[in-house]
Amino acid sequence: MQKLHNEWKERQQRFQKFWRSFTHDRTTRISLVIIAIVTLLAVTAPWLPIPDPMAFTQNQYSPPGTPGHLLGTDNFARDMLSRVIWGGRVGLTVAVVSAGISITIGILIGSLAGFFGGWIDDVLSRVIDIFLMIPAFFLALLIVALFGPSILLIMVVIGVTTWPRPARIMRSQVLTLKSRTYVQAARTAGASSSQLLAFHIIPNGIPPVITNATLLMGSAIIVEAGLSFLGLGDPSVVSWGRMISAGQSHLRLAPWMSIFPGIAMLLVVCAFNLIGDGLNYVINPHSRERKIDPGLENPLIKPNQIAKPNKENDSTQTPNSFFEISDLTMYYALQRNWVRAVDNVSLKMQKGSSLGLVGESGCGKTSIGLSLIRVLPANARIFDGNVFLDGKEILNVPDREFQRVRWNQMSMIFQSAMNALNPVAPVGKQLIDAYQLHRPRASKKEGRLRVEELFDLVNIPQSRMRSYPHELSGGMRQRVMIALALLLEPDLIIADEPTTALDVLIQDQILYELDLLKEKMNLSLVLITHDASVVAESCDRTAVMYAGQIVEEGPSMVLFEDGRHPYTRGLLGSLPSLTGPKHELVTIPGESFTPVGEVLGCRFTARCPLATDLCRHVDPPEIMVTDDHWSRCHYALEDIIESAWAGGR
């Protein structure tokens, strides 16, 4: 009982979440309202205080606004308002029934093909392909013309001529779904094929088909109108299509005869299409572009006017480090909130050294990297801070000036090299293009020579320059990325998860090579990663980041041996060996903290085993543990830290 209740509740929550995200868009909301109103009118039409849509009154061609005829009358003196409303009844029926037939056939054939595979799939896929090639509208035209235009036949025909598309969608859905773990589990538990299909696969594969169905609903109404125009509408029902076509011959006398049903039809078809869009966005969130809600600008200062309130380190002051970040603060606009992704971060580095920036995903470490190289997403805003490279401020300079720093002095290696390279261009060309961008006077040949040199440097055969990214192994692609970063011999490289998604052996190899290169070329390296072992291996110093803040910074060895922040200890504390299995941060229970608005107390409180009232109410200061090691924990200097995860893991 309890279980059922929970399940129901979970479902309800899931639906609420879906509904919120679905109705987030204003056009979707308006569309839903339109469909709701039309549906309501259509369903209640027989009881509404409107004349019979078929009844002849006394006044033909009464214009809109005539008493008793809000939308006027038609050539047979029938009330237009009533006809438009009754037309909605037919329109919605056509939409729902046609789309229903279409997706029912589509789901059935698509899931059979996808589920059983083999020759069944071969045959059904061929059938789907064949029917996709037959012009559907003409087939509909033929059938309706041959067998007589009854609305029922029209609906069936629209359904029967449009099923291949949902079938195709369903097939690919089933293909993906059937290998999912839960389906496999159900299969091992003894579920039959039909049970698997009916309870596990089809219900989960249906959402994109539903999206397709809303689009079909719109087009079904249009097809009915098209058939009506060609004289193939069912005269025994009041449909918008037939009203528009009939209105064409009375355009001069009574334009409202085709205008009102036209508007009604346009609204409903648009609404169906927009709802389809809305559903699509929810199902494929990627297609929803990041943007800043216009109403959100208020609490923030525009990106360019960066305020400098009471800073001791004024930007004019020349820093003594080679590379320094000071007070970097950055926000993301997420739905209705500004999230502080990077909060007053300051870091320093000496030339030729390496710094590891570690933290779980979403902690803001990547945002720092992106801020440095200026490729922030559209919804990000840098609020404050300075960055100095080789004695020069580079954060608050115009793009054009920064272009001289970019790649020449500072470059970046991105995570997931598979996607970081253009899939449709040979890798060599991509590098040469980049070279020529920064060395506009260099010939193509010079570019090629430089790239060949780099390929040698990172151990890729030169012949691979002509290869496309997908033709290279993961390690090879990562080496290309490294070569790209080294292209213009920069002083500083920011490497964002350079080894993620590679297997352990290659990972070590790449890190090793990177280390060698760093030594050889006297590079400074910022290594951003969630993987503690990577940092341990290759960084002189380590900064641990949590919820937008650096919570502890110091020499890597010290942090690994004796972290003075409970989070550090949880993150880095017990690496069994450098080559052994990785310890992921997920082992720290609880969800990551999202800094929104004013924050009181330590951000780690909720997950911290040592949290006290002090932690909950007072923001911990930076506590210097030694000269080059500090921690943002009230208890950084206390022994109790060492017991942080003693019992748990």
Partner: protein, 529 residues
């Protein structure tokens, strides 16, 4: 790349837009061009092998000649008159027809038109069972005593022979040149696209799907036409044809393109447009299938007649332009028996009759179900839309089953509809009563049969005495009104729009009895001629 596409787009827009002014090339001033529209393209230029649709007939009417012809002059009394036949004569037995052809008639290639061509044409039609053979069914022999005389002998007297063949000549029955076709089939060969006729216009150009151009034939035997060029455009959409007419690109808007009846007053007020209303020998009626339960009961058919409100239909569908008609015949015809009429609108009487016939209102208030079909003309669909509601008012659960022309034809052929709106043709000869009502007649689609009527119709066909015929047909009409296998509603009125000043169109009085068919424009004259 973006710039490249942008430029390309700009160029194409400019290229397309730039050509505006040049496009309207004015025709040479002195040339008289007449343009009008047909709904469907002609299928071939060979007229006789099968029934065509509008496009073909309209072209053939100008390209070819028939032996005898007929036009809307029928509404003022003239049925048939000669086309190629200058004079004709029927012998007293009513079986021997002698036609004297115009001596100066020539084909478009210069060869003379001779009696051999007529014999060749008719014999081929009979041999191949081409559609016109229906009207030559009684022919026994065709002989040609000389080059310009044709004698046709019938197996039995038939008063309707000439009027019927004259009417059918509007569709097919065009005389074909023997020297061109010879033994070749009429639906093969170069004549399919480069036709040789003997009509007032000769073939010039056929842009398939778009238009046919005809030119006045200088050596036409009645004298050259006043119109130099005829352009027949294929235009499917009536609204657009009306637009072209208003734009002045079309001079003649025949019935099938005429605008909504509601707009007619507006056109009447327009000095540039002449609204021509032409009567016709067609009535629009309801045909009731007497083989169908419960329509087999005459009381039910009478009740249906009482349920029809012709005035309402006339107002709503035809803006009172049509003529309600309750005679079993044409309002103006001398053969119409004006003493008998179908019942006038009286819904209460209708309901009484239904009760009498044992058809009380049942579930939902319905007495019985009824399917109504119609041929799909704009006029008949409008009638159907209203009739269905009128029937519903007296408790008939009527449903309108739309059909296209082919399916409609099949319904008539199979005689398996319940009720249809039909165009009953009371001409060109009153022998039409036999066609429509005598047992097994070619236009009897409702299984109606009355032996008494059959006898009267057979007798009326063979007598040439006018008074006798009027009496016999009068009796037939009494029977029809009594049995009510049909219910008359309207006499058709054709509404044609003509650009002011043009005269001689078949629908205009200036075109009566000399138009050489419904679609021939030989007689048409431009303004100020």
């Amino acid at each position: 790349m973006g710039r490249w596409l942008g430029i390309l787009f700009l160029i194409s827009v400019l290229a397309v837009a730039g050509c505006g002014p040049q496009a309207a090339v004015p025709p040479p001033e002195e040339e008289v061009i007449l343009t009008y529209a047909v709904q469907n393209d002609a299928e071939t230029m060979s007229p006789n092998t099968h029934g065509q649709r509008g496009g073909g007939y309209v072209v053939f009417a100008n390209l070819y000649s028939a032996l005898m012809t007929l036009d809307w002059g029928i509404t003022v009394g003239t049925t048939h008159y000669g086309d190629l036949a200058e004079t004709w004569d029927v012998d007293p037995t009513g079986q021997l027809y002698t036609f004297n052809l115009y001596q100066n008639a020539v084909w478009h290639d210069g060869e003379p038109v001779t009696s051999a061509d007529v014999k060749y044409t008719y014999e081929r039609m009979i041999d191949r069972n081409y559609p016109f053979s229906t009207f030559l069914a009684d022919v026994k022999e065709i002989s040609t005593p000389d080059d310009h005389t044709v004698v046709i002998e019938l197996t039995e007297p038939n008063v309707a022979f000439l009027p019927m063949m004259a009417q059918a000549a509007n569709w097919y029955g065009k005389i074909m040149p023997k020297h061109v076709w010879g033994d070749g089939e009429w639906d093969e060969g170069p004549g399919m696209e480069n036709p040789i006729g003997s009509g007032p216009f000769k073939f010039a150009e056929w842009e398939k799907g778009s238009y046919v151009v005809l030119e006045a034939f200088d050596d036409y035997f009645r004298g050259r036409a006043d119109v130099d060029k005829v352009i027949v455009r294929t235009m499917p959409e009536a609204t657009i044809v009306q637009s072209e007419f208003r734009a002045g690109n079309i001079e003649w808007l025949p019935n099938q393109f005429s605008p909504a009846f509601g707009e007619i007053d507006e056109y009447r007020a327009d000095p540039d447009v002449e609204v021509v209303e032409t009567g016709s020998h067609y009535n629009y009626d309801v045909w009731i299938n007497v083989a169908h339960e419960p329509l087999n009961d005459p009381r039910v058919r009478h009740a249906i007649a009482y349920a029809i409100n012709a005035d309402e239909i006339n107002q709503l569908a035809f803006s009172n332009v049509w003529i309600p008609c309750r005679y079993a015949g044409l309002p103006l015809s001398q053969f119409t028996n004006k003493n008998v009429e179908f019942p006038a609108f009286d819904p209460d009487r209708a309901e009484e009759l239904f009760e009498e016939a044992g058809l009380p209102r049942g579930a939902g208030g319905w007495r019985f179900d009824l399917e109504l079909i119609e041929p799909g003309f704009s006029t008949t669909t409008a009638m159907a839309e209203i009739l269905v509601e009128q029937f519903k008012a007296v408790g008939i659960n009527a449903r309108w089953i739309p059909t296209d022309h082919t399916i409609y034809g099949e319904y008539l052929d199979q005689k398996n509809y319940q009720m249809t709106i039909y165009y009953t043709r009371y001409g060109p000869d009153p022998d039409a009563y036999r066609e429509h009502f005598a047992t097994g007649g070619p236009r009897v689609s409702n299984n109606y049969s009355n032996p008494q009527l059959d006898e009267l119709a057979a007798a009326a066909r063979v007598t040439t005495d006018l008074d006798e015929r009027i009496r016999l047909y009068g009796e037939i009409q009494e029977i029809i009104v009594q049995d009510a296998p049909i219910v008359s509603i309207f006499n058709e009125v054709k509404v044609t729009l003509v650009e002011t000043g043009w005269t001689g169109f078949a629908e205009q009085e200036s075109g009566f009895n000399q138009s050489l068919g419904w679609s021939c424009v030989y007689n048409v004259k431009p303004p100020n001629r």
